[in-house]
Amino acid sequence: MTLARKYLNAILRSRKLLIQTLLLCFALMIFTPFLMIVLRSVGRGWFGRLWLPPELTLDWYRWAVEVTNIVEITKNTLVIALLAVLMSTVIAIPTGWALGRRNIPGRELLMSILLLPRMIPPIAFALGVAQIFYRTDLINTHIGVALAHVSICAPFAILILSATFEALDERLLEASGVCGANPIRTFIHVVFPLILPGVLASMIFTFTTSYNEFTLTLMTYGKDTVTLPVRTYLAIGEGYWEVTSAMSILLIIPSIIVLFMIQRQVAPEKLVGGFKGV
């Protein structure tokens, strides 16, 4: 108890220590839920008032791999996410260019209309998407689920890209023209390097959105297009928490890898995306 009191006194004396302590508590608040999942996934016989599981085991992971087709699910999720990224980017580049660089009357209004899907709860139009997909046999196809994701990914991609294109300095393009570069060479040597960070940010954002998307997937998936979030949901429903935990850990690994791969290239804030736009 004296140690705790000593620490308390130190905190009251030093503002820095107080802030560090608060930040540590904050990090605990964010990370302990994941720690709980990890502990649950490797523990056996963890009942009653125990801080740690009494016995460690990897059985739940074996179960998780045997019961659920992890490889298949990860593949589904990645394929759908990549399709969504591809389609959103292809849609957003011309539209973002027009919005960012062309003098369009009513540009603000047009932008807010295009962003409308982000303002309506996804479940509201997911109902309509599902009914349309049932009619057109897009249910339970990768392209179908990806299309559903595009409905909310594309608006943000357009938002990010139009801002990127708008920031392009007209004089640089003119300078390149004056230097004798034709439009294609201008694009390759001047425009492309300048817009690359924006395009990358938009793709990363689209990818994480699609990878984590639950509502629209739940309304359009089938037995061949089960994705990571949907599988987690189904597992939680099944009620075997140890197995569910093991599965979650396996399924979360790709998103952690993505996070670590990109956090050096792109400011982490970009992952939450376009908050200035609304």
Binding site: A27, W46, L127, P229, T232, L259, K276
Partner: protein, 283 residues
């Protein structure tokens, strides 16, 4: 001046460039919304005929008011808690102390991992056997039995906050970092102590950013689906209420659609009012 021919060409090219975005909007948003709207006006299971009965029966239920109220309580509660968390967090993070980058990554983690997994971890942490209850029983006097947090409204608000606070935290931090340090020093020299500087200078200056971030948190929380679906228990906000209509056989698509339309309209109305208030000069 552009010649008439080139002007027409300019418009044509602009429209061509805009068309992918517009097409996406109409096919993947507007058309589904229309389908939802039409469905909500059809008798259940029919392809013809018009009726308002789905709206009327839902709104006539006493549950309807409960569900709508709950949806608002959860999202506004999440916004308020997020603001209360974000201000001290932003103030601490802008000092750029040790492990600054780590804490910045920590801040966005809930937005990067799937929400369902976050919710699972929270359920485990706050459950009757979770660490939080073990801690309370061990260290807090007069707590001898686990406190139920999961599947309660305060518990849900806590989960929502965990998941959706980064929007507000990011805008708040950005605003704090954009402040001219001289402004706070000016207040300090003028005789304001730390608390007075915060109250009279810092908070008023970052309020617009907090409000902008809170729009995003509110929208996300209002439409939240995965968290209340697995962690809501008997507390069902609108999104879960909608899903329940089609989760069981026979699926009641029209009833679900009517509730979805009500939800969309409520959100648009609320956002419009909110934006109006935001536009009003705060100073």
């Amino acid at each position: 001046m552009l010649k008439r021919g080139s002007k027409a060409r300019f418009i044509l090219i602009t429209l061509l460039l805009l068309s992918p975005g517009l097409l996406t909007f109409f096919l993947l948003f507007f058309y589904p919304m229309m389908v939802t709207l039409t469905r909500s006006l059809r008798p259940e299971g029919e392809q013809i005929g018009w009726t308002l009965e789905h709206y009327v029966t839902f709104l006539a239920e006493p549950r309807a008011r409960e569900v709508i109220l709950l949806t608002f309580v959860l999202s506004i509660g999440a916004v308020l808690c997020s603001v209360l968390l974000s201000i001290p967090l932003g103030l601490a993070l802008r000092q750029k102390l040790r492990a600054h980058r780590f804490y910045r990554l920590t801040m966005i983690t809930p937005r990067v991992v799937p929400g369902l997994i976050g919710a699972l971890g929270l359920l485990l942490l706050f459950g009757s056997r979770g660490w939080v209850n073990l801690f309370l029983i061990r260290f807090v006097p007069f707590v001898n039995e686990p406190i139920s947090i999961n599947y309660t409204i305060p518990g849900l608000i806590l989960f929502y906050t965990w998941l959706y606070f980064p929007f507000i935290a990011l805008t708040t931090l950005a605003a704090l970092e954009g402040l001219d340090p001289a402004i706070e020093e000016a207040a300090d020299v003028a005789g304001a102590n730390r608390w007075q500087v915060l109250r009279h200078v810092v908070i008023p200056l970052i309020t617009p950013a907090i409000l902008a971030g809170s729009v995003l948190t509110f929208m996300a929380a209002f439409g939240a689906f995965s968290i209340p679906l697995i962690a809501g228990g008997n507390h069902r906000p609108l999104s879960v209420e909608i899903y329940r209509q089609i989760d069981f056989t026979p699926a009641r698509w029209s009833a679900a659609s009517a509730r979805a339309m009500i939800m969309a309209v409520l959100q648009v109305i609320f956002l419009t009012i909110y934006m109006r208030v935001l536009r009003r000069p705060i100073t």
